[in-house]
């Protein structure tokens, strides 16, 4: 692998109207190549209708050491879950 190739994260929209989902990462020399690689690597079996790529180094991630402070407080607040509503059968993708 050429050192000039950097890591990109790949997001695929599986159908119109749905959101782009992270599917994995790959190496490429630039954005154009990253799109082509993503197409060839992740949409070979009709997985998508749209691709986003972003340099992995451009992603800002939360600090694992702060996980407690960030996520623990949500644990005992069950009333935030929308489990008290009944969702009609016909409504998909919720």
């Amino acid at each position: 692998m050429n050192e000039d190739w950097v890591l990109y994260e790949v997001f695929i929209r599986s159908r119109s109207g749905l959101e782009h989902k992270h599917v994995g990462s790959l190496h490429a020399a630039d954005a154009r190549m990253a799109i082509e690689h993503a197409r060839d690597t992740y949409t070979r079996r009709q997985e998508g209708v749209s691709i986003w790529v972003v340099r992995s180094s451009d992603i800002v991630a939360s600090d694992p050491d702060e996980a407690e402070a960030l996520f623990e407080p949500a644990r005992d607040k069950v009333y935030r879950h929308p489990t008290f509503y009944s969702i009609p059968e016909e409504v998909k993708n919720i």
């Binding site: 190496h27 490429a28 154009r32 082509e36 690689h37 197409r39 070979r44």
Partner: protein
């Protein structure tokens, strides 16, 4: 086209149409087999997948075209019989398609020159008077558009890249350019297909191919090599020594084990 215009058009015979379809089918089949040789040897995992995808597209085109050719021939030969039980002189692919992969620059130059030809040819064939061929062309042209995007992208990267990549791609271009004569020189069969509306007008393909390829060469900072006359024509069954070796590998299994299946 109006019904009146169609009725005055000379009809191409089954033999000519069969022969013409073999040219298209064999070019896709042999190019696909060449690229398939690279599986597991691509310069990077992602490129390996890309080359494999293109190989599969090409072999898929060959299957449809050979099946159609077999129906037109009407002698009971299906796609497998045509792919695996003909010898080199019976193959009608463009000689460019059978040229070895060489280094990555050579593979890319071969694909680029061929992709441009296939793209323009199938684009034109979507209007073929041979209905089933037009249907196949509709599917193939989308694939070819991507193949061209891939190969021309790499041509520019290599040509406008480092000193080494430029030197390699220039050498590959000098080596393979002579085979482009065959892509653009129409013989009697090509002319007959154009007149009957089955195939594209050769002058149109030449013009569009030149425009497309020259623009890519300019972007890749490569000079167009001088025209070279090429005396052998794969589309008439006169091949370079490379085709026999390719076929030996491709055809071994179905010939050694007739009727073998998964």
């Amino acid at each position: 086209m109006s019904a009146a215009a169609e009725s005055v058009r000379p009809q191409a015979g089954a033999e000519e149409r069969f022969e013409y379809l073999l040219r298209l089918a064999d070019t896709s089949l042999i190019a696909g087999q060449r690229l398939a040789e690279l599986l597991g040897h691509g310069p990077a995992l992602e490129e390996d997948l890309a080359l494999g995808n293109i190989a599969l597209d090409l072999i898929g085109q060959a299957r449809l075209l050979l099946a159609l050719a077999g129906r037109i021939e009407a002698r009971g030969r299906d796609e497998d019989a045509l792919a695996f039980h003909r010898d080199a002189p019976e193959f009608r692919n463009l000689a460019l398609a059978e040229q070895p992969n060489g280094d990555f620059a050579e593979t890319i130059v071969r694909q680029c020159l061929l992709d441009a030809w296939q793209l323009e040819t199938y684009e034109s064939l979507t209007g073929s008077s041979e209905r089933e061929l037009a249907d196949i062309a509709h599917k193939a042209v989308k694939e070819c558009r991507y193949h061209w995007r891939f190969s021309s992208g790499w041509l520019v990267r290599l040509g406008d890249g480092t000193e080494e990549s430029h030197a390699r791609v220039r050498a590959a271009l000098a080596k393979l350019w002579r085979f482009t004569d065959e892509l653009l020189s129409a013989d009697e069969l090509d002319a007959c297909m154009a007149v009957s509306g089955v195939g594209p007008a050769p002058a149109l393909i030449r013009e569009r191919w030149e425009t497309r390829v020259c623009a890519a060469l300019a972007e890749a900072k490569l000079e167009r090599p001088a025209h070279q006359y090429y005396p052998w024509h794969g589309k008439r069954g006169v091949h370079t020594e490379h085709l026999g070796h390719l076929l030996a590998e491709m055809q071994f299994l179905p010939r050694a084990y007739p009727g073998a299946s998964w």
